[in-house]
Amino acid sequence: MRIWPSRPSRVFLIHNLMTTNPRMLELQGIAVSPGVAIGKAIVFDREGYSIARCLISRSETQKEWERLVEAVGRAHHALGLRGKQTTDTWGSDLGGIFSAQQQLLLDPHVRSEMEHLIKDNLYAAEYAVSEVFAKYAAAFRKASSSFLAERAADVRDVEQTLLEALTGKPTQTLKEIPHEAIVVSHDLTPGETASFDTEKVLAICTEAGGPGGHTAIVARGMEIPAVVGVGNFLHNIRSGDEVIIDGHLGRIFVSPDLPTRERYLKRRLARETIFTELSELKDLPAETSDGVHVELMANVEFPTETQTCLARGADGVGLYRTEFLYLGHEKEPTEEEHYQAYQQVLRDMQGRPVVIRTLDLGADKMGMTRPIEPENNPFLGLRSIRLSLRNPALFRVQVRAILRAASSGNCWIMFPMVTTLDEYRSAKFLLRSVADDLTCEGIRIPANIKVGMMVEVPAAVLMLDRFIEEIDFVSIGTNDLTQYTLAVDRSNDSVADLYQACDPAVLRLIKQTHEITSKHGKSTSVCGEMSNNPAYALLLVGMGIRSLSLAPSTIPVIKKAIRSVTLGQCEAIAWRALRLGTAREVDAFLMNQLAGLVPEIVLQA
């Protein structure tokens, strides 16, 4: 006897077909900025062009290749025309560049690589073009001679011309987002993220990147959800696809099915409700239920963020990053530009402390004035305070502006990445000499400006008892402290999982720092990513830390966590956590404790 499929299962099948989208793709990345966003994707190639990274079927390869060959012809013609026009206007010196660019376009290696990608790897023509040219642009950028590095721009020019010939329309850049959209890209440079139109970006999602990267920091500053480190997936998504970004769990859904979509619409609504509840805590102090006060300060990237700080009830600005002044600009900022940025924040914060951190960039990001030899290990290279001390003229401009602005509020100055006592003394010496100059010019400088340093290099922790007499405060930057303690590049996808701020080694360094500063009556704040996680915040309070500096948007959640526990509970957490042997054990233990003590917050995530 044959068994026929029963009717109900058929009905079930039809129901399934109607509600699930077979194209739905679910991906997991690293959640770096909380929230839920639902919207249309806009896909950006790493050079800022919108590229559909799609594959074609084998039967289409010949046609696709011919399409590319025709486009190369059109691009060649376009470059020739541009060359002729330029020569007519500016002479052959400049016009000749376009003739040379034509050779780049016709380069046999470029051509055979594109042919291989299309015919063997089934890349769409645009995808092949962007892969091959991006590879050469990157190779040129890394080259040691500045002549070759400049050729990267020529390669990009040619790429752009060819893409325009292929698509028949001008290539898109990041600044021109047409409507509200979720930005999807391989990676975003700090300059690119800084140039976002904040009105139009709903969320950010990148293939590369880690928890401490710039995308993460900027997304939190903009209070939009972000997921990074997703791995290769751009070939599965194109601009216009619907996407859900879950910034709590690090999940991404491309072309979500109906049930998923509805679930997330509900989640978004629930989140908005909890947000309202949390915002009612705004004017209540961050105190444990037995009355121990914890100062909650805000990390700020842009001067405009002070409004968010005040709205979230921040006690001050614990970390004012000044890098935005240098990034995304062609020229170095003038003293006046520095001054305006600092004065605005100091004034807006109305007497609350504002800790201004001097330049904390790598030499690789500062290419605007001088060509700098590429470094093998930029994180161990000329960056941050080292770069400032090496360029006293540049450093003086920033310090002058800070000191001039100081009388507008409660100004603290902090030097980043201090490794040796010599560095700290040199920085302070320069500060004093700038202050003397200003006094001679008749500019009033408040007498009680506090000067301190970031603790983010293990050497500084080991030597802190020698630093302590000469500093007013320290702020522990857990991102770099973790990176330098564990020898992990946090933006390197292959080792990003080793980057764990809760590693026992990092916890010991934090503990040691606090023991030394508290013995000498100096304040210690923690300003890394760690402070943004409620479970870690409770651990830090248990370890004796009484000041945390975090993204303005997470202040309400951390306040809620602190108000839900006693100091004794936090100390018990710290006692136990410091006796565990691995980051995984610490993390599991902390999450478990949080779930027991403040379940509302865990549910929210």
Binding site: I97, A100, Q103, L106, D107, P108, H109, A143, F147
Partner: protein, 88 residues
Amino acid sequence: MITRLVTVQNPEGLHMRPADKLVRAASGYQCQIELERCGQVADCRSMIGLLTLGAPQGTQLTLRAQGPDADLAIEAISRLFDSQFDDH
């Protein structure tokens, strides 16, 4: 295979326009033409290959050609180097 040593004499080195001229010249011959700098070999018809040599003024390069018109090609290419690519 014919080999000859050539020197980059023009002040700007083997930059965009000289490389452009080399590619155009090399494209007129049937033979394989290569330039080598310290073990790094570039196809003389590849703009990217030539640029990647990153040869500044004074660099000595090994020019090699193999094929039916190799001797003519070597002559023409080394003349380009000697005339500083007509690029003063």
